[in-house]
Symmetry: C2
């Protein structure tokens, strides 16, 4: 760290600007930008993220000389405002806020009203003529400092306040008389001393230094690390610290604090979406402790301020060319802007805003597409409640994040995780949520809170996660301890099923039926633009005609992966499969397979018809055979009875098929070579299905894909066998059926020797799930309980390598595989069918290595279309073409 | 196939020569060579291996026009000998023998006396005046043709012969009168017709064509495939077919058949080692049906032939510059040489012969070293029976393959495999062995047969495998069905323990104590020459001071892998380890580790002292923790009692540690990161041990090796932690302990990103066992029951990739790893510590990629030294140096 460490802003100028997010954090960079373009920003300064890194690197020592520079910066603010930090007349107070390059709402800590002590509080009371305000500010300061700097449990402070409210029978904080507040502050200072082990600091400089340190420290607290993990925020070195002169929304009834979205973050409509809380400080809005009023209330009470705020809104949008999420404070009728950032939004809003901004001439089409987070489209593709369904609405809250969620009510984030681990859907019901709840929220289908508005923690995080949220449902009486809530005459216990509608705020008992989503015109325009721009094809992984139809509806250009084993797990078929596995003679095996053949043929006919001439890639049986047999002794007996074999036969076969490491065992093409009859049957079914579909006058483009190939010899043998089978069929039936034969590249060796493998392959499809397991040596089956989570949390892996492709390692193999394959077969068709095929970052990688297509689950097809277009915008056509033709 | 298909030899000239083994097979090439240098070879011709390949490729159709060319070649032989194929005067008979480029004794099939039919047999009888001979030849022909061409079970023919012998009370075949033989032939022809479904062919051309086809077919029979697999014979396209004019060792008492080694194949002494069987055909010797006489018997009976034979012996050795294994026939006093090849030999003999040939000026040192099969040295390094031990010798046979073997008697190859699978040592006891027994022989410690001499199947195969064999122990009465043998008053049942001495032929009851081997002067010379030539260092994998001492004795230059976990499996320690794993608090864990610390420290002091300044690479804990806990509920109870914890604690921990794919789970450096206390303890023990050993005035070169690294971040974290620990130690103790810190490269990702990994590594050691598992996606734990064996048998894998490195796949990663590592750190020290480090072919690869050293088990150190020298001879110094400096 060698550069400038402190960047001042205010008084119409600033050292920094909006482009310096890495160094100043998002908040600091935007404060500088706003100051420079003349918006009313209280003056202050930003300590750089490099200082935070230096603090971490020194294992928690403040960078040498930093506080001396802070004193100089404070002096500059003093000069601008004509106030003095720690003075007993016109004392200057500060807020201290964290702010990293990526927004992490509620994650980092804030201290307001810093600089108060027994002397300055009196000075403030005298200056404002409002002792209640001064002592209320002191109360807040002691609480926040105690909580975030000294680690005193917040509820210890809150308990004192609540007790005082009861004692004095006051309902609103604002009605608490000054004397009472003063005595509460005394109690709070004692609480502090008891827990912190030393008196509350009265020296403003000590307060300031310790608060700055606390912000630095908070960068690596568990919540922050967890948030970064969940949101894949990486590559940042630390947080900046913003020290800014206080302005007071809690000075009097002519004061207020507010947050606003310059457009509706749920729908994207061009209306100002704003919460105002009069006579309050900012933390009151975000915490959802009081229910705020809207912009009309402001227009009525303070029309001049309202006009000024609408002007600020327009300036911000024009300047940032995006919807902004801003914070402001009105101090005795004077407007101050405290923060702005690009606002989080629903997918629906993202589309609307992007298209509007193009219409308004603020963005080009390319820029607009890049503004839409591809993964967020997920939200648009899922069902909504059937409007015709009968439903028992038991309560109604604020529609905070759209969606239709159903699941069992749970009252604690840990419980949510437990249910989710058992694949049970849950609705997380909370008084209000806090950052500690994030993992539980991620595990839930939807979130229901009793307090807080559309900008509360629950609402912001839920929108970000694409989860349904109903907030501020104040009629709920929640007893989190007893795991129960009451509303009216209804009682809902943990495990009872609820349905919540994030679009209307309705809370319903039971499982309300849903209907498929209808995609908006905005969505269709964005998809059309994407299709015009993208160079990657998009296919779907689909195993049934229904999946295939859904995939086409979402725009899939083919099936990239049909997992035939899923067809065998059907209850009507699994016993035939088991008969085959348990057969003790060739003939028994043949007989069982002969029963499966017509079923498979019908499966394939269904797929071919649904896809109507688009390519359909069918992967031959992949999993180990033991997956079809039961491991529970009781069920083994049932199966034995059903199949009329001694239970010992079942038991012995299960034991014989047991493997220490099934991931690396007898499956995929190894089965095809060691037990060829299964593949023979599947190939026969495919050939017959192609023939029959064609005879019905439909076109078919069938691709047979061999899984788990590690050496070209495996592929060669199986290819010859398939070709022989096809030749015989065509000869016997006088047919002219054609199929392509290709392979998954999912064993590292196949990628390493892809030049050889390509000799026998009409196409490659990268199976990056297994390729990741083997290249990293990580079992995905053990990921949940294993070290993988720990590795991602600790940052050993920058991200979950099964969610986003590990470019450096696995990606290197993929790139080798593509290049070597095309060196042997120029123009070899290459795709990906692992789950990475639906992940925008991975799709960007697929574009860069010159793949032909990605294949993903049907619901991710629109995401892949947009992500592919974004990749093309970012890297251009030539990049993709070069990768494709490179030797 | 476009070239010449038939190569003639005989009459002092030949179309081919000894260098054409790939095309003519070893036998055919050497027949040509011998004919050309004037040795008495009966004339004939060789059909090329390409014809065999064409036959296989055409799925068993004879190459077009081949038989017409055969007729031309036959006509040339007829001209040379003045005889005619199929003629009723002076009929010409042929032998048809297979012969591939690599020798496969007993594997391929032979037909003798081809051309006989009811007419020619009479002509032969008339011409030789020996009807008994003629009919005996016909009997043999029918049997052999029926067996190998038509697939009629051999025992059906043998049964007729045995019945006739009983009927006529004849003991020796040779005493059977002609009329009796004629009637036997009649019976055999009916046996043939009954089993083959059609009459025995009388047309000599049909006999010839079908025999040639049978040889082609035999290339892919199970026995041949299995033999090639076991002996790693690959890259061959097929077998040649040798059609050669018959000469008759069974013509009269002045005739004989013989095989000879030009030097003693057991000791390498320069004496002619020869078995002769008078009045017999070749098959009688190899089958071991009659016990042959030696060279002295020939000298006595036919001194002129003896002199000629000794001359042939010398000519062959001078010409081939190696010990030869030859076959000859004496027909009525005239000597013919039928075959020669480099003779198989014991390791002891290989050394002796190689050194002698250098002394005799026939070979250079480099050539001599290349003649010694490095793996065979294994035989010299294992114990022999203690001469002072009491032993109960119950029988004595022919010492056919040296060694001291002990194990339970078993009477069937399958039983041998079953016992071996349970890790029980066995002695395979057989009447005689046949190619079907090969897998059982491989599973046994030693082989004991009742019949056959030093050139019998059992003896030849055992020597090749480096197994102890006592053959022809005729006093044994074996009942294979009852699983028992009797000898004198003793009865030995399946499961009884035997000891056999392959150097003396002694068979002993019970477990006779052994003493370590004493290495001969020849061995020391070869090692010395090897050390002068090789460029690779050789280290050993050793976990105990005893292993380390053994390794140094065998010439190891350091320890390349000390597996610290082996130290924990010691009974005195495992419970401490278990305590640690079961600990429910940090303190309990610390306490258990504190008990282990001094034990580990002593382990390391012992190793450092044993290695006396040579490098010692210590790998930190690698296996998953569950390996230390018992999975059997009964033992879980015992452990729980011992450790005074509820059994539920043990059970729960076992369940918690269970992984679906432990190979890809929580182990290696992952443990070091997730549960750092174990590594902390191990590192502390290493540091303290270095310090203490140095304080005793000894030198130490300690290398800490981190296993299972997949990303540089893992290595960086652990390296920092170790460095901090070391810094603290040195500061507190005023010490100056130094250690190197490096990593295993065993996860594919580590090899792919070796440039990054090298940033934090002082050295690399390739762990190719795990690297092979992950790169190929093959679980070694499941290899025995899985598809791996099948893959090797079917040739999908050309060889067992865990025995010899898969150069194309795994080798590519290794090469990348070496190059990328050295690109970051020029001169980075690189070794290998997987089992490939002791495999000669893999060592050759290690030389070529420019590694610094290989590390293998102590007993393979001499093998590695020789193999490294051979690699240096083959590829030269510059190749290795280039690989080392290449960027």
């Amino acid at each position: 760290m060698t550069g400038k460490r402190i960047y001042a802003f205010g008084g119409g100028t600033a050292d920094g600007n909006a482009s310096m997010k890495a160094l100043l954090g998002g908040k600091g960079a935007n404060l500088a930008e706003m100051a420079a373009i003349g918006l009313p920003v209280p003056p202050g300064f930003t300590i750089t993220t490099e200082c935070c890194k230096a603090y971490s690197d020194a294992l928690g020592r403040m960078p040498g000389g930093l506080m001396a520079e802070v004193r100089t910066a404070v002096a500059d603010v003093e000069k601008l405002l004509g106030r003095q930090f720690g003075a007993t007349t016109k004392p200057l107070l500060f807020s201290v806020r964290s702010g990293a390059a990526a927004s992490m709402p509620g994650m980092m800590d804030t201290v307001l009203n810093l600089g108060l002590n027994p002397d300055t509080v009196e000075a403030l009371a005298k200056e404002t003529g409002n002792a209640r305000f001064a002592w209320d500010s002191y109360r807040r300061f002691v609480t926040m400092f105690g909580d975030v700097v000294a680690g005193v449990p917040r509820k210890k402070f809150d308990a004192e306040l609540e007790a005082a409210k009861k004692r004095t029978k006051v309902v609103r904080d604002a009605d608490m008389p000054a004397e009472e507040l003063q005595s509460i502050v005394g109690l709070l200072l004692r609480v502090y001393e008891r827990h912190a082990g030393k008196p509350f600091p009265t020296d403003p400089w000590e307060q300031l230094e310790r608060s700055i340190e606390a912000v630095f420290r908070s960068w690596n607290n568990m919540r922050a690390v967890e948030y970064r993990r969940i949101h894949k925020i990486r590559g940042l070195i630390g947080t900046a610290v913003n020290v800014q002169a206080m302005v007071f929304g809690n000075l009097n009834e002519n004061s207020a604090t507010g947050v606003g979205f310059t457009r509706d973050p749920s729908t994207g409509e061009n209306t100002f979406f704003c919460d105002v809380l009069f006579n309050a400080q900012g933390e009151d809005v975000v915490a959802g402790l009081r229910t705020p009023e809207n912009i009309d209330a402001l227009a009525k009470r303070q029309p001049a301020v309202h006009t000024q705020l609408m002007q600020v809104r327009q300036t911000l949008e024009q300047h940032y060319r995006d919807m902004q999420d801003m914070e402001f404070t009105i101090q005795d009728g004077e407007l101050f802007v405290l923060q702005t950032r690009n606002g989080k939004r629903t997918a629906r809003a993202a589309l609307r805003i992007a298209l509007s901004l193009v219409d308004e001439g603020l963005l080009t089409r390319d820029e607009a597409l890049l503004k839409i987070e591809a993964s967020s489209l997920n939200q648009l593709l899922h069902p909504t409640f059937d409007p015709k369904a009968k439903k028992l609405v038991i309560a109604s809250g604020i529609p905070a994040s759209p969606g239709a969620a159903k699941g069992r009510a749970v009252f604690h984030p840990d419980t949510a995780e437990k249910y989710a681990a058992r694949n049970e859907r849950v609705i997380l019901v909370r008084e209000e949520t806090s950052p500690e709840d994030i993992k539980g929220m991620a595990a839930a289908q939807g979130i229901l809170t009793a307090r807080g508005g559309r900008t509360s923690h629950a609402a912001v995080v839920a929108r970000q996660m694409g989860k349904c949220c109903v907030a501020g449902c104040s009629s709920l009486e929640i007893d989190e301890h007893a795991r129960i809530f009451r509303v009216g005459t209804h009682t809902v216990r943990e495990g009872d099923v609820l349905s919540i509608n994030g679009g209307t705020g309705e809370v319903m008992l039971g499982d309300v039926p849903t209907v498929p989503p209808e995609l908006s015109g905005d969505f269709n325009i964005v998809m059309q633009w994407s299709d015009e721009l993208r160079l990657l094809g998009v296919r779907a992984n689909a195993d049934t005609p229904a999946d295939a139809a859904k995939a086409r509806e979402f725009g899939a250009q083919g099936i990239g992966l049909c997992r035939t084993e899923h067809m065998f797990f059907d209850s009507a078929r699994i016993n035939r499969m088991r008969e085959m596995i348990l057969a003790r003679s060739h003939e028994q095996k043949q007989a069982a397979l002969a029963h499966l053949l017509p079923m498979q043929r019908e499966d394939f006919i269904g797929l071919f018809e649904a896809m109507d001439g688009l390519p359909v890639t069918i992967r031959l049986l992949d999993p180990p055979l033991h997956e079809f047999l039961p491991h529970d002794p009781a069920i083994q007996q049932v199966i034995a009875d059903e199949l009329e074999v001694p239970v010992k036969v079942v038991r012995d076969r299960v034991a014989a098929l047991h493997e220490v490491n099934p991931m690396l065992g007898l499956r995929g093409c190894r089965l095809g070579i060691v037990e060829p009859m299964i593949y023979d049957m599947q190939v026969q079914a495919i050939i017959e299905a192609v023939r029959e579909t064609e005879q019905r006058g439909r076109k078919v483009d069938a691709e047979i894909m061999i899984p788990l190939v590690g050496t070209v010899d495996e592929l060669r043998r199986l290819r010859r066998r398939i070709e022989d089978q096809l030749r015989r069929f065509n000869l016997e039936r006088g047919a002219r059926v054609k199929v392509k034969i290709g392979t998954m590249i999912e064993v590292p060796r196949a990628a390493l020797t892809a030049d050889k493998v390509a000799e026998e392959a009409d196409f490659f499809s990268f199976g990056t799930n297994d390729l990741t397991q083997m290249t990293l040596g990580v079992s995905r089956d053990d990921a949940e309980k294993g070290f993988l989570i720990e590795y991602v949390v600790q940052g050993v892996y920058p991200t979950d390598p099964f969610a986003t492709i590990d470019e450096e390692g696995v990606g290197k193999l993929v790139e080798m595989g593509v290049k070597l394959g095309r060196a042997t077969r120029p123009g070899l068709k290459v795709g990906i069918c692992g789950e990475h095929g639906g992940d925008p970052e991975s799709i960007d990688f697929c574009h860069r290595v010159g793949m032909d297509y990605v294949s993903c689950s049907p619901y991710r097809v629109p995401i892949a279309r947009l992500a592919a277009a974004q990749a093309a915008i970012r890297h251009g056509r030539s990049n993709h073409e070069n990768a494709k033709t490179q030797k």
